[in-house]
Symmetry: C2
Subunit: 495 residues, 2 copies
């Protein structure tokens, strides 16, 4: 466990003041040039020094023949060169006094044969100068608050609260727009590649200390330092949750991982055990991993597994009940107090069990305000799961029916959406009980979009919601267990 | 098994030439008025006669005091009246000679007590006149080709190939926009409600005979006529697949269903057996049900379970391999012929096992044209699973790098998207091997959107793709099994 985030070898890598870049050129189709584009696009504030054997200027920046010619010692070297000359560049960086690097280039251990040898050589060079580096065969770092994106795709979206350490670069860079659709974003994300020097444990440690990271996501194809992994995770989990995806457990997934980053996968059960011991929540897919992060980073800690479902539609209510059941959640009966408080809102045809089905009534405002307020107060429940279906088309029709002139319809419908969303956001922010939604609508639907942008998790379909709720309760239990062990050990120590 | 679609009691209900409507008024907030709005919005071509006790005109249509006053005998009665007066309206329809109705009103068996009695009375009235009716407690029919939408929400999207019979109205009407996002739509969808007269088996039978229906979706909370259900399904499955969602198997789902439509659910295993015997594919969620429909209605029959995965990104490839493994699919090795044909496209750092990972190379056109062509020819594989990640931002950057002036960038990027999509669509349409995609991008992303609109299934995440592929192969086996039984029976009969 590091004392502070600055103590991590990843700190200068994620927060460099200056960068030297090998591999960018005036050839616009090269990877190195794309990478420089990404750094420039996001508006990196520090110095950038391209090194190029021939050019005087690279993409309008002054270029240097050699890193040794630079006026200063940059904090970070970014290397996107052909495999065979990477070590040479690294050696030059070492001689210059640079202590940190990201090696983007592939063709090392993951291809076997000579690649294995080249990777050993690279490690030897780094060790000679006491250098730390990420990679090789990675796509580096995205730290959007620091305006740093070393991946070769443009950054999209905003900084967020998810810290990620990934053995796949794609699950960093190809997730920018995915996360942005959900109102989410990375605090900092690392692609660790072949982990020749810095590994996923270092990434986890950095993110554990990172004040902008509320929840940590790990994509794992194989763990190299088992014991350090478990110990680091256990030291972090009491403070923030960790969610992991491991695909190496199946034969097919394992083979794919080996040729991808050279990681040696283990049997599914072994990893299941490691995660349990570490207090880590295991996700079954990348999307589920981010769903769980969304839930854990957005709502208060889930104290129990008792869910109350609010719906106006029977089928979506029944499917949610089924999904909760399958996710190991309970649907408690409502207390007499709640039933009494709900009675003014319950039409004769409505169901007052749980799911609470109000049917598609006339007063949507109650559905979005008074009713969830009562259900959040329900003492028999730990969480409210809320069905969202409020299509713009319906609001427009309501406007037309109310005689709103066509030219004012959009504005009036927008007002309605605002009123509903303000009410939901008010309840969401001012209640210490978790409150999440599910919908079948596109996340671009106006009401859903506003709520997501304001931080309310609304899952696509009840299964994703139920599994995220289940995982959030799992975190409560994992955390309690680790804290109990810690206090027991402390107790034994003092006796 | 019906001889022709016209022989179904649902035919006049889904294809009426004229409609009498009870419950619409000039009160714009009433359910009946919303329903009339829906019918008018979609542009229903036949006569519409509102019946209203006081008004002369309803929503600009001539209104009648009584159904008995109508100049003609309408083919279909739509009833959206308070529960207590539904039977009376039904009786008047019977006297008028109307033979078909949809009873939208709720408050019958699903609420218990007097509702049970009122439903019996309604059935007695219908029987007296030999009438067939859908409901009560349903939202009717959507048959967009006939411009008929009797649900109280506006229709969105286009007619499609999914026929649906549902014990939840929401899973008809609230799915309009959902399906439309996936380029899908209903051929005809029935909400069967309490099934007092017409039930889900009748719906399935109609859809089996419907020429616009390529695949049938069923949402089930409880089956009332078990034997008829199995026999009808078995007669349809050789011609078209049936996919069902049953949520009554869990305790929570079962309770919710009971209060929703009064359906008595049975243990999960019993239903599992019914579906297997019927040759029906079981889905685990509404979204999965439509995924499977998408797959089965869009691609040639899947002959085996051997999948080849094309990717340019290791992590998404490994996750897809893992998902295929978990869905019971195989990832065969590539044949020497394929490896040889692929060699010009394979960079040194690329993986030539399966998933075939081409890495993020420079020539995207190969990725979208020559490479999938080779993989579709692979004799060791039955299906190609293709990873899509082609963000517009990247195309724009490519344009900028190539020196395309800013004002031509959008047009040039659009051209690129067109070239890629045309190539993929050509392969998709002209190959008799199934070809599906997966992506983490929003379905609104230009390339993904075009492909989806043109009928190429691209699933959100590899798990959904793998499960849909698994289900499509399951259909092949279920169909073969039924056909084998049929031919065995025929053989025995003739011997």
């Amino acid at each position: 466990m590091i004392e502070s985030i600055e103590a991590s070898p990843l700190y200068p890598i994620a927060n460099p003041k200056s960068i030297v870049l090998f591999g960018a050129s005036n050839n616009v189709t090269s990877m190195g040039t794309s990478l420089l584009d990404s750094v420039l696009d996001l508006g990196f504030k520090g110095e950038i020094y391209p090194v190029h054997p021939k050019e005087d200027r690279v993409q309008n920046l002054k270029a240097y023949r050699s890193v040794l010619d630079l006026p200063n010692v940059p904090e970070l070297a970014l290397i996107v060169l052909p495999t065979r000359i990477v070590s040479e560049a690294m050696d030059a960086c070492g001689r210059k006094g640079i202590k940190h690097a990201i090696v983007i280039s592939g063709g090392f251990k993951e291809v076997g044969g000579e690649g294995v040898h080249l990777e050993k050589e690279l490690v030897t060079v780094a060790n000679k100068y006491g250098m730390h580096f990420l990679g090789p065969n990675c796509i580096g770092v995205a730290n959007p608050r620091h305006k740093l994106n070393t991946t070769f795709l443009p950054f999209q979206g905003n900084p967020g609260f998810i810290g990620m350490a990934s053995q796949s670069g794609s699950f960093v860079t190809q997730m920018f727009s995915y996360l942005s659709d959900y109102g989410l974003g990375f605090s900092t994300a690392f692609s660790v590649g072949n982990e020749a020097n810095i590994d996923i444990v270092d990434g986890m440690e950095y993110l554990g200390a990172c004040p902008d990271t509320r929840v940590i996501a790990l994509y794992i194809e194989g763990i190299r330092r088992g014991r350090a992994f478990v110990e680091t995770a256990r030291s972090i989990v009491p403070k923030k949750p960790i969610v992991a995806l491991y695909v190496g457990g199946s034969k097919a997934g394992s083979r794919a991982g080996l040729s991808h980053t050279g990681a040696l996968a283990g049997p599914d059960r072994l990893y299941e055990g490691i995660f349990r011991q570490s207090g880590i929540i295991r996700a079954q897919s990348v999307m589920e991993m981010f769903d769980i992060c969304w839930m854990l980073g957005s709502v208060p800690r889930t104290r129990g597994r008792r869910v109350v479902i609010q719906t106006h539609s029977g089928g979506p209510g029944a499917e949610a009940a089924d999904a909760c059941g399958r996710a190991g959640l309970d649907l408690p009966s409502l207390s007499p107090e709640t039933l009494q408080r709900l009675s003014p809102f319950i039409p004769r045809t409505a169901s007052i069990s749980n799911p609470v089905d109000f049917t598609y009534g006339k007063n949507l405002m109650d559905y979005f305000s008074k009713i969830p307020k009562v259900l959040l107060d329900e003492k028999n429940a730990d969480i409210l799961l809320f069905y969202f279906f409020a299509p713009y088309q319906r609001f427009q029709r309501m406007m037309r029916q109310m005689g709103v002139p066509p030219n004012q319809m959009a504005a009036q419908a927008a007002k309605l959406v605002d009123a509903y969303s303000e009410s939901i956001i008010g309840l969401f922010k001012n209640h210490d009980k978790p409150f999440v939604g599910y919908t079948f609508q596109n996340l671009m639907d106006p009401l859903v979009k506003i709520l997501i942008e304001r931080g309310v998790p609304i899952f696509s379909g009840p299964q994703r919601a139920a599994r995220a709720i289940g995982a959030s309760f799992q975190y409560t239990r994992l955390r309690d267990k680790i804290l109990a062990t810690v206090s027991q050990e402390a107790g034994l120590g003092s006796s």
